[in-house]
Symmetry: C2
């Protein structure tokens, strides 16, 4: 029996994590969760899973829930998030919050000796050096939840790190993969949110269209698998059936494939190194799919991916700056304040204005994040 | 350092095995080998690798080689093959002979506690129950060399048998994959030997065109991975880039991919569970390949595959009969005595005439083999 604390229970990954817990009551138990502003969803989760602790975003919501559920400990805000992350009953933290808010609770959970199932890209992107060092020191595992990193993780089972030649992340190309760069000038928010393969949250769907999502994954892969950027490649694969690959130095390539269903990697992170059945997911039928397509990445077309490699190679505070700038720029795009191509323009200009600090402490990372957001605001005003 | 005995050193797999040994002189050493009728090739191998023991097919050749190489033990025939297979210095036998002649030396080698890198399909097809039981009793490993079984074996590293849902073997479709069944009536030996993806020996290239090769692989997979035929599927994949796959019960599919180069699976069998570099093999470039195609198997079109499943499910002596009938029929085809489609007709009729013995001892297997060959001769006369 694994006891789980779930940060971000009402988001896309959170809901699917709850489905996994629901399907395997003998294997998993929910000890705590955090939710955003959706009070009704939080109520439903408390009813169904009876956790010991719940954290919501706002004080008023926490007070209302506390009256409804007197036997559950209801907290709110940053403190609530950290209490949920470190609850003694849990052995595993599923970090499925969106954005850099996931960083500090994850570090606290690592120090509290929890294994981390990590769906929150920003945690590793902004502070990969801190998080991986902390995990190593605490002797806990960082278990990828993203389908790409899970594919790599699965491909590495039974293998030795010294034999890895390179990681090959697959990228669907996002909503606009069939558009030329000049066609991107005028795309709308609605078009951007119409992802061909996956149904995800708005932020990540925009990141998928700009390919910042893949950029964040490249940086995350760098930290998760301890490999230089020279050994991390990206290939366009529109069907998203091969979720990613590992090439070894004998030129053998291992890959993990499947129908697009995030519950498979989520469950794998929770069952690893074992597997449990997941009978209601769609079985892969390659004959029905017929063809898988592959194409080289054009870094001029997908400039955000180029920026992410640059940020990753620069290191230090630069990935945190890139990530914060991207969060702000995507929010501005979703608020219809800027155009699609201005997202990358803002990220690039914010990165240019930043003087990176190498091997930053957590505080310097957080400062760089704040500074980057301020830069974006000044660029937008 | 692994010390290797290589049966079938002058065949396609044998030559590539020697190349692997040549590339890694610090990892591998050749203790013994067997060769067929190519005396010049045997001389060259002795010169280069300086083995302690060599077995050739005929007495006269052995005598000539003995005069040339007085310090090497030169034997011939069945006894020579068994002496090479069981030589004390070797820890691993690479069984790369063609046809059912590989069976008895392999069993002797297992009893002599050698791990078996098994490229000889017939060994498992005709006596899988005997070979796997012997290997288990002796505590030795059966390491697949075939690219398909190696792909499955690689996909199973770090995994548990209980979690396997099915094996998915890929089939290129052979020389005639774009031909309708009625077009096969008139195909020639030359057309048959022109395989689109792999350069192999004549017998295996014909088997690839009839898809008996895949049928033998299905039976081999049954024994190697201890799974019922219901859990072994075949899919058409013309590019032979995905070498085979394993689906687990969480619907995750693991696959091994690569450029067509048999040295990769040969080397993996010898380095397992580790890997060694193989720098001069072609690196997989999926973007350059562009598309991978998949198609369901039509069992009416590929009737030999249907026969193989039938033989496998029938069990007992039936796979040995099917295999012997196929060897004889393919030889008759290569001798231009029968047409391409008559190969399967002969195999089917030979199987129909056989009354299978269940759980046969080795002697009964060998008798069934002899009986089947006699049946084919009577059908041909």
């Amino acid at each position: 029996m694994k006891t789980i604390s779930l940060l971000g229970a009402t988001g896309s990954i959170g809901v699917q994590t709850l489905d996994i817990i629901r399907k395997h009551p003998d294997s998993f138990q929910l000890a705590a969760f955090s939710a955003g502003k959706n009070e009704q969803a939080a109520q439903n989760i408390i009813h169904e899973f009876e956790p010991a602790l719940v954290s919501v975003m706002e004080k008023e919501a926490a007070e209302r829930l506390q009256l409804q559920f007197p036997s559950v400990r209801i907290l709110y805000g940053k403190e609530g998030l950290e209490a949920a992350a470190t609850i003694a009953e849990a052995d595993t933290l599923v970090n499925a919050v969106i954005g850099s808010v996931g960083l500090e609770p994850t570090l606290k959970a690592i120090k509290a000796k929890k294994n981390i199932a990590i769906a929150n890209k920003e945690t590793l992107v902004t502070a990969g050096h801190i998080v991986t060092a902390a995990a190593q020191q605490a002797g806990v595992h960082l278990l990828p939840v993203d389908s790409e990193h899970s594919a790599i993780f699965q491909s590495l089972q039974g293998e030795q790190e010294k034999n890895i030649s390179r990681l090959i992340l697959t990228a669907s190309g996002g909503s606009f993969r069939d558009k030329q760069r000049e066609e991107l000038e005028s795309v709308t928010v609605e078009e951007t949110l119409n992802h061909p393969n996956w149904s995800m949250g708005a932020k990540i769907t925009v990141d998928s269209a700009t390919m910042m999502n893949k950029g964040l994954e490249v940086i995350e892969a760098h930290w998760l698998f301890d490999l230089p950027y020279e050994q991390i490649d990206v290939i366009l694969h529109r069907e998203s059936i091969i979720h990613s690959m590992v090439e070894f130095h004998d030129r053998s390539v291992m890959a993990q494939l499947g129908s697009p269903d995030m519950r498979v990697p989520i469950q794998y992170a929770l069952t690893w190194p074992d597997r449990l059945p997941l009978p209601d997911t769609t079985r892969l039928n390659l004959a029905q799919i017929g063809r898988l397509h592959f194409q080289e990445i054009d870094f001029d077309r997908y400039r955000m991916l180029h920026l992410a490699y640059t940020a990753g190679r620069t290191g230090g505070t630069m990935p945190a700056v890139m990530n914060a700038a991207n969060e702000e720029a995507v929010a501005a795009f979703l608020d219809r304040k800027i155009s699609f191509l201005q997202i990358e323009e803002i990220v690039e200009r914010t990165m240019e204005k930043h003087t990176p600090v190498q091997s930053p402490e957590l505080e310097a990372v957080l400062e760089a994040d704040i500074e980057a957001r301020a830069t974006v605001r000044s660029l937008l005003s």
